[in-house]
C-alpha cells in the first residue's frame, strides 16, 4: 500500500511537468436549416491519454469517474448512448450532423476479454439506467440484437467479431430534464461556464428536436498510434423552430434560442469555439448577416458538401473584450441486387427479429423494403396498461458510405472541427452517413379489457352450459326404454312364434 501511494504521489508530481494528459474541447455548431429552423449541435470532447482498461487509474481529472470506472469494470471497448425526443426530418432539414432514432438507443462493443457478454450487457444497461435516469433497464433479450454488418466500431479496434456487439433501441422512451441534468453533470465545468451555459433545460425542451448522446471510444494517442487514448464525446442537438416563436420571421440569435448569452469560458477547456454555417445556399442567393463579425472563416467539406463556417473562438481574449457577453445573431436580409442478407428470426418472448441487407442503391431510384407480418393475440398478461395505444416497432437503420462530390483534403484530425470527426473515413472520396427511420406504431388485436370479468364469466357459462349440453344432445340418441323385459317364457314364446311365421311379442 505504501509503495503504491508513493508511486501515485510521484506520478502526480510529474504530471504538470509533462504535457497535460487530458484535454477538453468544446464547440457549438449553429446551422440554419432550409425550412427556417435552426439546428444547434454541442460537442464536448474529453480526451484522456491513459489506459482505462489496465485498471491502474484511480485519479480522475476531467474524465467523469462514473463512466471511467464503468468502462474499466465491465470491459467496455466502445459505448454509444443516444436519448432522443422528436424526429430529424431529413427531407426538410437535410442531413444531420449526428442522427439518432426516436427514443433511447444503446450500442456497445465489449473487449474480447469479456467472457459473458450478455451478463455484462445486462449489468451495463442497468448501471447506465441509474446514471442517466432513463429506463434503460428495460433492455433485455427481447429487444437486443447483434447486427453483423452495420455498427462497426468507430474507434480503435483490433478485430470486429460481432459477437462482442450488442444493440438495443427503446422507441417509447421519453427524454426530459431528468435525463439532461446527469448528462450536464458529466461536463468538467458543469453548466456554470463555457458553452454549457446555454444548456438551459427550459429552452432545450421547447424545441422541435432534442437529442443528447454519449460516445466513449478508444482512439490513437498520436499519429504513430502506439498508445491508446480514451475519448468521451458528449453531443447534444436541438432544433429550434424559429417560425413559431418568432412570429414568422427567420431571424435568430443565441439569446432568442437559449435565453442566455455566452459570458465566460470554461477555464478547463483547451478549445472552445462557435461555428455558424454561413455557406451560401445554391438555390436562392440569400444574404446572411452575422453579428458580431466573425474572427475567422473556416471552410470544410462536410457530408460531401463544401460548407463555410464563421468561427468564434471563445478563448481568444479579443472576443470578450468589447462586450462582456457573446450573442451571435443571424439575420436574413431576403431495385437492385442485394449481395448480403442476414436474417435472424425472432423467438417469441426471447429475442426480436433482425434483418440486415447490404444493398447497392442505383442513382435516382426509390427502394422500397416491405415486411409482411401477422397480427397475433398476446397473452393477456403481456398487454401493457395502454394496449390501444399500439405497439412500437423501432426505427430501422440505414448506414451508407456516400461518394463525396468534392474531394476532402486529408487534414489533421486533431485540428479539424469536432463535428466532422466522429465517424471515421477511410479516404476523402466518400463519407459515412447513418439514417434512422421514424418508429412505427402498430395496432395489435386487443381484447376488450374494460369488462374482463363479464367476458370471462359469459364465455365460461356459454362453453360449459350451452355447448356441453348441445354436444350431448347432438351426439347421443335417446330411446324410450321398455319398462319390462320378458323372462324366459317370453323368449320361448317368441322362438315358437318365429317358427310359425307370426310377428314376435
Amino acid at each position: 500500500m505504501l509503495a503504491a501511494a508513493a508511486l501515485l504521489l510521484l506520478l502526480l508530481a510529474a504530471g504538470p511537468g509533462r504535457a497535460r494528459r487530458d484535454a477538453l474541447r468544446e464547440e457549438l455548431l449553429l446551422s440554419p436549416l432550409p425550412a427556417g429552423e435552426v439546428a444547434a449541435t454541442f460537442q464536448f470532447r474529453t480526451r484522456w491519454d491513459a489506459d482505462l482498461q489496465r485498471g491502474a487509474v484511480s485519479h480522475y481529472r476531467l474524465f467523469p469517474k462514473a463512466l471511467g470506472r464503468l468502462v474499466a469494470a465491465l470491459g467496455v471497448r466502445e459505448l454509444h448512448l443516444a436519448l432522443t425526443q422528436g424526429f430529424w426530418r431529413t427531407q426538410a432539414w437535410g442531413q444531420p450532423p449526428l442522427q439518432a432514432p426516436a427514443g433511447a438507443e444503446l450500442w456497445v462493443w465489449f473487449q474480447p476479454t469479456v467472457t459473458n457478454v450478455d451478463k455484462a450487457w445486462k449489468e451495463l444497461s442497468n448501471v447506465l439506467s441509474g446514471i442517466f435516469c432513463a429506463s434503460l433497464n428495460f433492455i433485455d433479450s427481447t429487444n437486443t440484437v447483434t447486427p453483423t454488418a452495420s455498427f462497426k466500431p468507430l474507434g480503435l479496434a483490433n478485430g470486429t467479431d460481432h459477437h462482442l456487439l450488442r444493440y438495443a433501441v427503446l422507441p417509447r422512451e421519453v427524454v426530459c430534464t431528468e435525463n439532461l441534468t446527469p448528462w450536464k453533470k458529466l461536463l468538467p465545468c458543469g453548466s456554470k461556464a463555457g458553452l454549457a451555459v446555454l444548456l438551459k433545460a427550459e429552452r432545450l425542451f421547447h424545441s422541435s428536436y432534442h437529442s443528447q448522446a454519449v460516445h466513449i471510444r478508444p482512439v490513437c494517442r498520436d499519429a504513430s498510434c502506439l498508445a491508446v487514448s480514451w475519448e468521451l464525446r458528449q453531443t447534444l442537438t436541438v432544433v429550434f423552430d424559429t417560425f413559431s416563436s418568432g412570429q414568422g420571421k427567420k431571424d435568430w440569435s443565441l439569446f432568442k434560442m437559449f435565453s442566455r448569452t455566452l459570458t465566460d469560458t470554461c477555464p478547463l477547456a483547451s478549445q472552445s469555439k462557435v461555428y455558424v454555417d454561413i455557406s451560401p445556399k445554391n438555390k436562392e442567393k440569400e444574404l446572411l448577416e452575422v453579428t458580431p463579425t466573425p474572427a475567422s472563416v473556416h471552410e470544410a467539406i462536410v457530408q460531401g458538401d463544401k460548407r463555410t463556417y464563421a468561427v468564434y473562438d471563445l478563448l481568444s481574449p479579443s472576443l470578450f473584450n468589447t462586450s462582456r457577453s457573446l450573442n451571435v445573431q443571424l439575420k436574413w436580409k431576403r431495385p437492385q441486387d442485394s449481395c448480403y442478407i442476414h436474417y435472424q428470426p425472432a423467438q417469441d418472448r426471447r429475442r426480436p427479429h433482425l434483418l440486415e441487407m447490404l444493398i447497392q442503391l442505383p442513382a435516382n431510384s426509390v427502394t422500397k423494403i416491405t415486411i409482411q407480418f401477422e397480427r397475433a393475440l398476446l397473452k393477456w398478461t403481456e398487454y401493457p396498461p395502454d394496449p390501444n395505444h399500439g405497439f412500437y416497432v423501432s426505427s430501422s437503420v440505414l448506414s451508407a458510405l456516400v461518394p463525396s462530390i468534392s474531394a476532402m483534403k486529408n487534414m489533421d484530425v486533431e485540428q479539424s472541427p469536432l463535428f466532422t470527426s466522429l465517424f471515421p473515413s477511410s479516404d476523402g472520396s466518400s463519407y459515412f452517413v447513418r439514417l434512422y427511420t421514424e418508429p412505427l406504431l402498430v395496432n395489435l388485436p386487443t381484447p376488450d379489457f374494460s369488462m374482463p370479468y363479464n367476458v370471462i364469466c359469459l364465455t365460461c357459462t356459454v362453453v360449459a352450459v350451452c355447448y356441453g349440453s348441445f354436444y350431448n344432445l347432438l351426439t347421443r340418441t335417446f330411446h324410450v326404454e321398455e319398462p319390462s323385459r320378458g323372462g324366459l317364457a317370453k323368449r320361448l314364446a317368441n322362438v315358437i312364434r318365429k317358427f310359425r311365421g307370426v310377428p314376435p311379442l
Binding site: G86, P171, S244, T370, N388, H389, S469, L473, V480
Partner: protein, 620 residues
C-alpha cells in the same frame, strides 16, 4: 337442457312447436317489429356520455379568432379555383408552404367501370394536396386529419378557407403531440380513396396514384368538413360510413359537447332534437330520425368523405355547415373555435378511441341505442326462421321414426320415400347461376348492349341488371319433374329445398346483422314472412304477390319512397322510379370504386336465396 334430454319432454316440446308453429311465428315476428319500434322510445335510449378519460375531464379554452382571415382565404381560393378550372394545386401548395407546413401533392387517376351520370364523370384525373403540421418533439407516430373536399362550382370554398386559417393558427401553437394533416381532396370520395390507399401503401381498388408520400404515422381520428356559406345556422353531422360502419361514439360525443359549449345548433340526419321527450309527437320525431339512420346505414353508402377512413380503423365524422332561414347565425370564428377545441381534445388522446360504443343507433344526437338493446329485435325475426326450420326438421324426424315402425306413423302422403338430392341440384345451380349473371354480366356486357340498343352505357348497365333480375324469376324451375320422371313433384322434394333455403337465409341474415344491423334488419323484416309462408300448397297468387313484395329490389324501391317520406319530401311514382334507377347504378359504382359489399351480397347471396323460395312456390 334437462328438458331436452328427457325424451318425453322432448317429444312434448316438439309436438308443441309443431302444433303452435304458425302462431309462434306470427308472435315472434310481431314482437321483433314491436321491439324495433320501441327503440325510439326515450326511456330505452340512455343519454350519451363521454367515456374517454383523456377527452373528458379537462375543458380546453379555445383562442381561435381568425374568422375574417378564413373568409379572405376562402375568397382567394375561390378566385384561384375559378382561374384554374378545378383544384388550384400550385396556389394551395404555395399557401400551405407559407404557413409553415410540409406540403405534398398526390396525383391520381381512375377510370370508372361505367360512366357515372349523376356526377357526370368517367375518366377521372385529380390531385390531392395536403400539408403536414409536424408536432414538435414527437416522432411522427400518430396523426390527426382535417380533410376538406374541393368540389366543383362554388361549394366548400369556405371550408378550405377555414382549414387554412386553422392551419396557420395551429402552426403557432406548441402543444401538439400528434402531427396534423390538412388535406384537400379532389373528386370527393375518389380522391379520398386514392389518398388513403397511398397513405397506407395498399391497393384495394384500381386507383392509380403516384408520388411518394409524406407520412405522419398512424392516423388516430379524422374530421371531414363541408362548408359553403360565410355564416352557418347549424351543423349536421354524418356518421354512417362505407358498409354502414360507424365511428366510435366518443367522437360524436366530442362534437356534441363542443357544440353545446359554443352554443351551436347541431343536427343528425337533418333533424334537431326535441326538448320534450314524453309526448307522442316527440316519439314520432325520434322514430323518424332513427328510421332515417337505419335507411342510411343499410344503404352502405358513405354519407360523407369520412366514410372511407373507417375501413382503416380511423374514427371519422363529417361535419356539414347548414345555412337555412333561421335567425341566429354563427360566424367562422365560432365554427373555428369548435374545431380547435375538438382537435385539441383529440390531441390529448393517449390511446385510440376505444372506450365507447362502436355499434349504436341514434334516435337523436344526445341519445343512443346500444347493440345490446337493438339486437333482440333482430333476434325475434330470425327466431321465425329457426322455428320454421325446426318445424321441417321435426317433421322429417317424425317421418323417419314413423318408418322405423315404432309408434303411430303420421299420415304423410309419401309414395316414394327418397326423392334423392339429385332433384335439388338443378334449382340450386340455376338460382346461383342467375346470381352470378346478375353480378358479372351488367358491367361486362355494357359494350355489347350499347352496340345493339340505343342506350348509354350506364343506362345499359342498369337495364341489364333489371332484365337479368326479372329473367331469373322466369327461368325453368321445374327440372325436378323431368328428373323424377314426371311424378308431379313430391312433398319431400320441396320441403327439403325450402329447408335448405331457410337455412341459407337464416345464416346470411345472421352474419349480415353482425356487420350491418340496419341492412340485416330491413331484409329480415321484409323477407322473413314471405320466406316462412312460401309453399306450393297455399293460395298461389297471394303467396306470389307476397314473395314479389319481399324481393330485395322491391325492398329498395320501397325504402326510397320511405326515405323521401321521412325527409318530408315525398316522391311521386315517376320520380321514385328515377331514383331507383339511379340507386342501382350508384350501388354498382360503390362496389367497384370503394368495395362496398351491398351489391355482391344482394346479387350472390340474397337474390339466389329469394329465387329458391320462388322455386318452392312453383314446385308443383
Amino acid at each position: 337442457m334437462g328438458l331436452l334430454s328427457d325424451p318425453h319432454c322432448r317429444r312434448a316440446l316438439s309436438r308443441l312447436v309443431l302444433r303452435l308453429n304458425t302462431p309462434l311465428c306470427v308472435l315472434s315476428y310481431v314482437a321483433g317489429l314491436g321491439w324495433f319500434l320501441a327503440l325510439a322510445f326515450q326511456p330505452l335510449a340512455p343519454r350519451t356520455y363521454m367515456s374517454e378519460n383523456a377527452m373528458g375531464s379537462t375543458m380546453v379554452e379555445e383562442q381561435f379568432v381568425f374568422g375574417e382571415r378564413a373568409l379572405s382565404y376562402a375568397r382567394e381560393f375561390a378566385g384561384h379555383k375559378k382561374k384554374a378550372g378545378g383544384m388550384p394545386v400550385a396556389w394551395l401548395e404555395k399557401t400551405m408552404w407559407n404557413l409553415g407546413l410540409e406540403v405534398h401533392k398526390q396525383p391520381f387517376s381512375r377510370t370508372l367501370p361505367f360512366p357515372d351520370e349523376t356526377r357526370e364523370r368517367y375518366m377521372v384525373k385529380g390531385t390531392n394536396v395536403y400539408g403536414i403540421l409536424r408536432a414538435p418533439r414527437a416522432a411522427s407516430t400518430e396523426a390527426l386529419v382535417l380533410s376538406v373536399p374541393c368540389s366543383e362550382g362554388p361549394h366548400n370554398n369556405q371550408a378550405v378557407g377555414l382549414m387554412l386559417a386553422l392551419a396557420s393558427y395551429f402552426r403557432g401553437q406548441i402543444y401538439w403531440a400528434k402531427d396534423i394533416i390538412f388535406l384537400v381532396n379532389e373528386h370527393d370520395l375518389l380522391g379520398m380513396e386514392a389518398w388513403l390507399e397511398a397513405y397506407h401503401d395498399v391497393n384495394i381498388t384500381e386507383v392509380r396514384s403516384s408520388g411518394t408520400l409524406g407520412r405522419a404515422g398512424a392516423i388516430q381520428a379524422a374530421i371531414a368538413l363541408e362548408l359553403s356559406s360565410d355564416v352557418v345556422t347549424s351543423f349536421d353531422v354524418a356518421v354512417e360510413g362505407l358498409n354502414g360502419q360507424l365511428p366510435n361514439l366518443d367522437l360524436l360525443n366530442l362534437f356534441h359537447a363542443f357544440c353545446q359549449k359554443n352554443g351551436l345548433l347541431c343536427t343528425i340526419q337533418g333533424k334537431l332534437q326535441r326538448s320534450d321527450w314524453d309526448s307522442l309527437p316527440a316519439y314520432a320525431h325520434s322514430l323518424q330520425t332513427l328510421l332515417l339512420m337505419v335507411l342510411a346505414q343499410a344503404s352502405g353508402r358513405p354519407r360523407g368523405d369520412h366514410g372511407l377512413f373507417l375501413r382503416y380503423r380511423i374514427e371519422a365524422i363529417t361535419l356539414r355547415g347548414i345555412n337555412s332561414f333561421r335567425q341566429y347565425k354563427y360566424d367562422m370564428t365560432t365554427v373555428g373555435k369548435t374545431l380547435e377545441g375538438m382537435f385539441r381534445k383529440l390531441n390529448n388522446l393517449l390511446e385510440r378511441l376505444h372506450q365507447s360504443y362502436f355499434f349504436y343507433l341514434l334516435p337523436s344526437l344526445s341519445r343512443f341505442v346500444s347493440i345490446g338493446v337493438y339486437m333482440p329485435a333482430f333476434g325475434f325475426l330470425i327466431l321465425v326462421l329457426i322455428l320454421k326450420i325446426s318445424f321441417w326438421a321435426e317433421r322429417e324426424g317424425s317421418v323417419g321414426r314413423g318408418e322405423g315402425g315404432q309408434g303411430p306413423s303420421p299420415p304423410l302422403p309419401l309414395p316414394e320415400s327418397r326423392p334423392g338430392l339429385l332433384a335439388l341440384v338443378p334449382p340450386l345451380l340455376i338460382c346461383h347461376a342467375a346470381g352470378l349473371a346478375l353480378y358479372f354480366l351488367p358491367v361486362l356486357g355494357q359494350r355489347v348492349a350499347t352496340q345493339h340498343f340505343p342506350v348509354s352505357e350506364s343506362e345499359a348497365v342498369v337495364l341489364t341488371v333489371i332484365a337479368i333480375y326479372v329473367a331469373g324469376m322466369a327461368l325453368p324451375h321445374n327440372t325436378h319433374r323431368v328428373l323424377a320422371g314426371g311424378g308431379g313433384g313430391s312433398d319431400r322434394g320441396w320441403m327439403t329445398l325450402k329447408l335448405l333455403a331457410l337455412l341459407a337465409l337464416a345464416l346470411q341474415l345472421g352474419c349480415l346483422a353482425l356487420l350491418n344491423f340496419s341492412l340485416g334488419f330491413l331484409l329480415a323484416a321484409t323477407m322473413v314472412p314471405a320466406a316462412a309462408a312460401a309453399a306450393p300448397t297455399g293460395p298461389k297468387p297471394v303467396l306470389a304477390a307476397l314473395l314479389v313484395l319481399a324481393t330485395p329490389a322491391v325492398t329498395l324501391l320501397l325504402a326510397i319512397f320511405l326515405q323521401r317520406e321521412l325527409l318530408e319530401a315525398p316522391a311521386s311514382a315517376g320520380e321514385g322510379w328515377q331514383l331507383f334507377l339511379a340507386a342501382l347504378a350508384e350501388g354498382l359504382l360503390q362496389h367497384h370504386l370503394y368495395g362496398s359489399f351491398l351489391c355482391p351480397f344482394l346479387a350472390l347471396g340474397a337474390y339466389p336465396c329469394w329465387l329458391l323460395f320462388w322455386n318452392v312456390l312453383f314446385w308443383k
